[in-house]
């Protein structure tokens, strides 16, 4: 059991380093994620939290443990369906000159979203087109997992079509390893969404799903403001299914236009309708 003081100090630590908010009521989550770390050090939770102030390495582990996002292959289906049925065909029309697509998987966690996208692009991009998927996360442990591209049997059992399992993975002992040709399309970058976005280039589709919920209102607004220049004029921003009703300041609300694409709402830059149709994205 965490005392209120211990909880407050962990929640302050995570907030300071990531801007993510762990309100009261999330004690169970903090406990569940930190207990294994404390146990690994042979300490009780209380005692472990007390040591964090003096141990940068353990602080990094705590931040990692608390920022891990639940994920699965093709989570929620519908965004992926809208991606292949509507967004990719539209982008194929509009990127005839560059023949290149850039996708951002923001808060990529263990990489299932990035690799789900990679599988779809492998199937739906015509010959002669190239693409890059940039996967960013605040957790260095997660970025390592994305780089390794290895998943447990329990993970590949969830939501991954069997045809994709045998097509894109090979068994490596107890785990399954994603095909090299998909791995080399995914660029991994360490990034705190609450900090500046430097040197990422701009994107045709940004997947920012199920992560804004962890931030307070001011940080959310700030992130959505700074996402604007990251997105191509005619690009798409995808949020989680529970994040679609956003309470934004008027000017920011006016800068984003919500458009229903298939069964999912996508956010687009409001100026899109005024720009000529042959825009291209520089990488």
């Amino acid at each position: 059991m965490t005392t209120p003081t211990a909880f407050a100090s962990v929640s302050a630590l995570v907030r300071r380093e990531t801007s993510m908010v762990y309100d009261e009521g999330k004690e169970y989550l903090v406990e569940a994620r930190l207990n294994p770390l404390a146990a690994a050090r042979g300490l009780g939770l209380e005692e472990y939290v007390g040591r964090l102030a003096f141990d940068a390495e353990e602080r990094r582990k705590v931040v990692d443990a608390l920022t891990i996002n639940e994920t699965s292959w093709f989570r929620d289906h519908t965004p992926y369906q809208a991606f292949t049925d509507a967004m990719v065909p539209a982008l194929l029309e509009r990127r005839q000159i560059t023949r290149r697509l850039r996708i951002w998987s923001a808060a990529c966690s263990s990489g299932q979203e990035a690799y789900s996208i990679a599988m779809l692009l492998d199937q739906h991009l015509p010959e002669g087109w190239s693409h890059e998927i940039v996967a960013t996360d605040i957790s260095t442990a997660m970025l390592e997992r994305v780089r390794a591209g290895r998943y447990s049997q329990v993970e590949v059992n969830r939501g991954l079509p069997a045809t994709s399992l045998v097509r894109y993975f090979t068994r490596a002992g107890r785990e399954w390893e994603i095909a090299e040709r998909l791995r080399e399309r995914v660029t991994v970058r360490h990034l705190n969404l609450a900090a500046p976005y430097v040197g990422l280039g701009s994107f045709d589709v940004i997947w920012l799903r199920n992560v804004l919920i962890y931030f307070d209102a001011a940080t959310k607004t700030d992130i959505l403001r700074r996402m604007l220049p990251m997105l191509a004029d005619d690009g798409y921003l995808l949020l989680g299914s529970s994040e679609t009703t956003l309470d934004l300041p008027a000017d920011l609300a006016a800068a984003w236009r919500r458009e229903q694409i298939g069964r999912v709402p996508a956010y687009r830059r409001a100026a899109t309708s005024l720009t000529p149709s042959l825009t291209s994205t520089g990488a």
Binding site: S152, Q153, V154, R171, A172, G173, R174
Partner: protein, 160 residues
Amino acid sequence: MSAAAHESPASEDVRAVTEDVWMVLLGEDGGLRPRTVPADAPFDAAAWSAATTISGGWHGVVTVELDEALARLLTGRMLALTDDETATDSDVADAVGELVNMVGGNVKSLMPGPSTLSLPAVAAGRAAFGSDSALACRIDLAWQDGPVRVSVHVPQGGPR
């Protein structure tokens, strides 16, 4: 990670496979604890044992042994029995057989294939191993104080 036909599975892999089976069948409280048992000691509690044979690209026998209370508890969970229902011996044999089937199938995938997995053979009592087989790997675990042993035997003249 690929193993040649004469290799044994790593105990770490067999342990992880067994832990996965337990977690999935029993959920949150499916955590297995390691248990220290002297090398070569016969299993001290077996009331139920189940074995499955792998043959093809690799040859071996995977055996799970459990004590009576644990076997019944596990069976009750798998069949979702209520407190006033008791598992019959036939229920226990069925559940323990499915357990070794899951562990064995996953061990098979760690080894060179293609191989086939036999139907499980379940017995009340300790497992007996012929002199033509050699122990390749053994893990001792405990779940809610009940001992569990998973062992892998290979034909004599194989590993070791």
